[in-house]
Structure formats: C-alpha cells, structure tokens
Symmetry: C2
C-alpha cells in the first residue's frame, strides 16, 4: 500500500498549468490569470466630481455659510462624460454632475445640498445665472483624484489571481478586452463494466445504473474543467480498447476511468490499460477508496478510479481535483476546514486513512457541531449526499469520541441562517 | 433613508421560486430540486458480492481455517452484471466477482485471499473444479444487501436540495433521467451613462470604461442566473426607453440597471423608469451604496443599482443575489461567516451600515485574522479585489480597534495551505 500523500505527489508531477488563452471579461469568471495585468491608464483617468454640485475654487468660498452666503456666477453646466471647455475663474462656478471631469481652475466641489439649490430635494437650478454657496468645504472636498483606484502602469492583478466579479469589473475598467488565462482542462470520462445500464434504459436483472460518470462529470465542472463523456465500455477487449482510444483521439488533458482497477480476473480494464499505456496499479492507504490506477496512455495521464460510488468521489476529490486545479493555474488545493465538536462516535477499523462523512452546522452558540451521516460503506452514496464535510481519521487513530473537537474538511460550506 | 433590512424585505416580496423545468443529470449541477425525488427501485437492486471471491453457504464452511481447509465444488463462475442460473447447494460454491448478484442458495462470500486462490496475488483459479476455503467468515460477510443505499419508494432527495456531484450520482443511480429543478432566472443587465466607453473602444477624453455590466453579469452567473447583456444606454430619452423596452422584450425575470438613480438633473434614468413603470427611489442606510431604485416595469421587477463600482457590487450582493437565489429555489441566502481578529482600525464615520473590505487568512496558530484592504471609497475596486470578506459595521458603531474579534461575512472562503 502507498500513502495518499505519496500517490498524490506522484500524480501531480505529471501536471502543470495549461497554456494561455485569451478570453473576453465575459468568459473569464473563475479562471486563473496566466500573466500579470498592467493598467495602461489611470482609473479614474481624470480628477472628477464625487457629487452633484458646483465646481469652485476653494479660495473663493472661504467663510461661506447659510448666514454668509457667497454668490458665484455659473458659467457652464457639465455632465459626466464631457470635458469642460470653460475654466473656473475667480468668482465663477460650473454646475457639475457626479463623475464629470473637474473643469480647469476648479479644485473643490460644493454639493447641491450646500447651495441655494438645496431648497428643492430635486435639483432644479439648471440655467440659473448664479448660485449661492452656503458652506465652505475644504479644498479638494468631493473630488475623486485621477488614479485613486488604479495608477497607470500598476500591476492591478498578478498572475495566479482567481477572477471573481470584482476582478472582472476591474479588468473591464482598465480596458482589458482579452484576458490571459490558463486554458480549462478537458477531462475524458469513461465508465466500465458489463453491469452498467444507462440512466434512461430499462434495468435488466443483474444490472445497476451507471452513476459514476455523472458524478465525475459534475465534479470536473465544479473543479473548473470541461468533461468529455465517453459513455460506458463493456468488459471486453474490443469495446474497452476502442473507447480508450476514443479518449486519446478526443485530445483530453486527463482521462478518468471508473472501476476495474482492483484484483479480479474479470477486470480486463487493467489488461487493456497495460497494453495501451504504461500504468501503475496501486493500493492506496485510504477508505473509501484503495484501488487506484495511474499512468500514461500515449502522452495523456490516465487516472483509474475505483468503481464503488463513494470511493470514486472521494478518490476524485483526493487525486483528480488537485490535478485539474493545477492545470487551471491554481497553486493551493486544500479545501477550507473548520474545527467542530463531534456529536457521535467515529470509528476507524480499517487501518487506513478513513474519510468519515459528516454534516456540519452551527449550534445556538454559533459553534460548529459535526454529526456523522450514517452508514459509511463505500457504496452508500446517500450518506455522502447528507454530508457537507469529511472527518479524516489517520490510519492509527481508532476512534473519535462524542464531544471531541475535530478538524473537518468542508466540501461545501455550512449554510447560515 | 430606509434600512438594508427594510429594502431587502420589500424587494424579496416580489420574487418566488421559478417554475419547474426538467433537465438531464448532466445539466443539473448546482440547481435546486423543485420536487422530492422518490427512488423507483432499491439501490443496489440485488444482494451482491462486496469482494472477488466465492459465494458459499455459511453453514458449509463453519470451522474452516488454514489448518482445517474445507473443499467445495465450484459449480459456476459469475461476473458483475449477470444473474446466476445455478444455485449454491450444500458443498458447492460459485466463483463470484465484486458487484455480481449473490446466487440463489448462497449467503456469504469468502474473499480470494482466504481461499486456495490466495497463492497468487493475481486471481488465477478460474476453471478449477474445486476450491479450498481457509477461513470461516460470518453469515452475510462480504455481501452488500439489496437496498442498503436506497430503499424502493424512499425519498432520496427532498425538494429544495442543492445538487452537488454526490447528488448527481445519486440521481443517476436511481434512473432519474429528467431532474425537476427550478428554472434559472434570466437577468437583463443595462449600463447607463454618456460617460461610458466599451471595454475595447478607444477612450475619448472625459470617458471611463463600462465595468459594472461585466461585474454584474459575472455576479449573476456566480449566483446561478443567466445574464442577458443589453449594453450601454446613453443619457437621453430615446436610447434609454429603447433599451429598457428591449429588456422587457427579452423576457427577463429581473432587470438590473446601474447608475442614474440618485439626485441630479442629468439622471434622466429616473424619468424614463418612472414613465415606463412604477418605481421607488430609495436612499438605503448603507455604505458603499445608498441610492437604490426598485419597482416594476410592466410585470418585471427592476433593480436600479448605484453607479460607483464598489457600490454596485455591494448593492448587488445585498439585494440582487438574494432575489436570484429565491428564484432558484434557495431559502437561505446568508454567506458563511468567520470570527476573526481585526489587525487594524476600522472606522465608520458615515452613520450608515458600513461594509469594510477585509482580507481574512489564518495565522500560524490556525486562527483567522482580518486585515482591511486599503482605501474604502465607493470607486476603489482594487480594495474590493484584494478582499475576501466584508466587515459590517452597524450605523451606530464608530470604530473597531485592532485586536477586536469581529464577525466577517465571507465572499470567498480563505485559502488554506
């Protein structure tokens, strides 16, 4: 048996970030930047007004108040999007809207509310030849400075950044129309087994539904990859060989099979994989899971997951997800964790690293509590479905007792009320 | 001014879960079930072997050991996917592969490792007329019972369940080829303003890049909706009216505009919205944010976000995201939170609910620490980009001091090493 860490380290040596592709900011959500993004210009590009009001010279309105209004001549009216071709000279003001570039000569903006326009809640002063200023804001008040968000030439987002909605907005704000990101990995998915029936076909005696290919495809999407479904290969040389070669022809970056990689003479999956590529067949010190295949078919890495549905999902989580994240350009793979008080006994009688399915929620005091979700067999998908976290028990830990504080790896985050 | 809670409660009254649509398990990831899913059959459908080995009658092998091997006649060889047409009678065994239905008469499986096939690591006993049993497992050992994961008629996933990879696998395992989920909301997005330039056009003096529509579209996708981009409407009656009507014609479930909803006579957005629908123009007691419009244009709810980029994103998060999640069938909207030690001073001088941008990470002791990410102005997108969480300061809290333990709403989860 090899350890989870040994198997993962071996596998990850075969993966690196994929090449750069350029996408629109519309398509860049959740992708990883493959290059630093340098701002070609400042944001905002001009000093501009933070308020609707009057652009003035601070020295002209020193001492202004409701009792001591200062009257200025309104020489222009300026909307956002337009440069003023008139300057603010001594005794003058320009009526200005939020976002409009500050006119030459002005250094301060007085809000409507602090002028004679305040009589109405709605701004109605347009066209008046003068305005009375009723307060004396400091020089620079209500002015947003050019470059206050981004300076020209600044790296706004370093290589490796994950692009969330704020980053998408930031990229658009500096005019980055072609965003350099790592290509998404294409992941071929093949189910194997004579016992498998398609999800929508009649279920003949002795058969079960093919479910791993659906769970694997969903997990590929969730990790950021693009699944390529190859369907089911039957347990015979011809069908297996044909479908594995189809995966190679599909130009995938990773090939994932399920079932057929443990001891058993009907598992001709191993024979075909050995014939088509250079494979390892491991027993990994984990539960659920244990049988795992990894190697190269031509130049394409192939990961053979076990056939039991929970084993397949936990093995995907442990080995395939880090490989996909690596190809996307991510350097950290660990899921978030919480420390929770265990509500019931968790046992490890396998002598392997045991991943116990738990549900984590907060109690009334706001502390996390973790409850095991029932039968922990490798075929019991319902108990994984009820779980949002995994309690990892090292091979030498036989039990955790109720009341123990344990670290839970979260697959999903606990819902808050 | 109205409170965040009042505005949100008012808005959410206009939304309910959208109607059911039926999708393949392939398309169901992250969707919300609109109906309970009842299993039409048990999973697994038959008692079956959990191991490669020999199906036997426990009473025939009582007392078997390496010193006292018990010889059985091998009467058949059974692969997964096939029913045995031969029964296991007294003194007989059937060689059986993992997953194969337990043959009639058998009640127990003895693993290869505990039989005379153990001499080879690879199973080589096929075709032998007899086998020696070298241990005496209990009756029922190495047998997976029919229905141990799912019983026929059981609700495997209740209405309201979010479909993650395990649930997708579970749906496939019970043959649910058409999954009932709430339809994804279509969200029309319109930017407004004469100052806005497209991301890829030359930037004329006085103009800024249109970025809110990109951030909003990304946030719609992230929340589970489908964005419909309507582009930029200029600040004139004709263009605004035309583009707002285009949003109605697009059959959106929610219409989101940005900018033009605060006081200011160039903001003819308000005039057009009032003419086309029944709108409220609020000042919400929050920062960033404050101006917010909400109402109906025909039968379609319209949410008018402020124009400053950070105000737009925080207002989307506060009002649009819960509306989208409601339409998807979610009943809980709260982001996860953590309790973190604040590293630096956070001030609230606005008398409004202040959303301070912070970055949360663990220190060496595994505790969360929160650091403010710089300038907190409503136009400073870079400081939101550096943040993974928000520290909400109530209107009456003037400051949090370094070292205080504060609750942080997480937009993203902190990365673990």
């Amino acid at each position: 048996m090899i350890s989870v860490e040994e198997a993962r380290a071996y596998i990850l040596r075969y993966f690196k970030p994929l090449e750069t592709e350029y996408v629109s900011p519309d398509e860049a959500l959740d992708r990883i930047l493959s290059e630093d993004i340098v701002a070609p210009l400042a944001v905002p590009p001009h000093d501009n007004s933070a308020m609707d009001g009057y652009a003035v010279r601070a020295q002209d309105i020193a001492g202004a108040s409701a009792q001591n209004p200062i009257r200025l001549n309104v020489v222009a009216d300026l909307a956002a999007g337009y440069m003023s071709d008139v300057a603010v000279t001594t005794g003058a003001a320009i009526r200005i809207m939020t976002g409009a570039p500050l006119p030459p000569g002005a250094d301060t903006v007085v809000r409507f509310e602090e002028t004679s326009e305040a009589v109405s809640q709605k701004a109605t002063g347009k066209g008046n030849p003068f305005v009375e200023i009723l307060s004396a804001p400091k020089r620079g008040d209500n002015v947003r400075r050019a470059g206050e968000d981004v300076r020209a030439g600044e790296i706004i987002l370093p290589k490796g950044s994950k692009l969330r909605p704020p980053e998408i907005g930031l990229l658009a704000s500096v005019g980055c129309a072609r965003v350099p990101v790592h290509r998404q990995p294409r992941v071929a998915i093949l189910a194997t087994g004579d016992e498998l029936a398609e999800v929508d076909e009649p279920l003949a005696p002795g058969k079960i539904r093919s479910s791993n290919e659906y769970a694997n495809a969903a997990a590929v999407i969730k990790a950021g990859g693009i699944p390529i479904r190859l369907g089911i290969a039957r347990d015979n040389l011809e069908d297996l060989t044909r479908k594995i070669r189809a995966g190679i022809d599909a130009g995938a970056d990773l090939f994932i099979t399920s079932a057929g990689v443990s001891v058993g003479d009907y598992d001709i999956v191993k024979d075909v994989l050995n014939r088509e590529g250079a494979m390892h067949f491991w027993q990994v010190n984990m539960k659920p899971g244990k049988p795992l295949a990894f190697g190269l078919i031509g130049a394409m890495p192939l990961l053979g997951l076990p056939g039991n549905p929970v084993s397949a999902i936990i093995s995907f989580e442990t080995f395939a997800r880090p490989a996909i994240l690596t190809m996307l350009g991510r350097t950290k793979f660990a899921r978030p964790y919480v420390t929770a008080m265990l509500q019931d006994r968790a046992e490890n009688n396998a002598g392997r690293r045991n991943y116990i399915r738990v549900h984590v929620a907060r109690n009334d005091a706001g502390e996390y509590i973790a409850t095991t979700t029932g039968e922990q067999g490798s075929g019991i998908l319902t108990s994984l479905s009820r779980a949002n976290g995994l309690l990892e028990m090292p091979p030498d830990v036989l039990a955790y007792k109720p009341g123990e504080r344990v670290k839970i790896t979260m697959l999903d985050y606990p819902e808050e009320n």
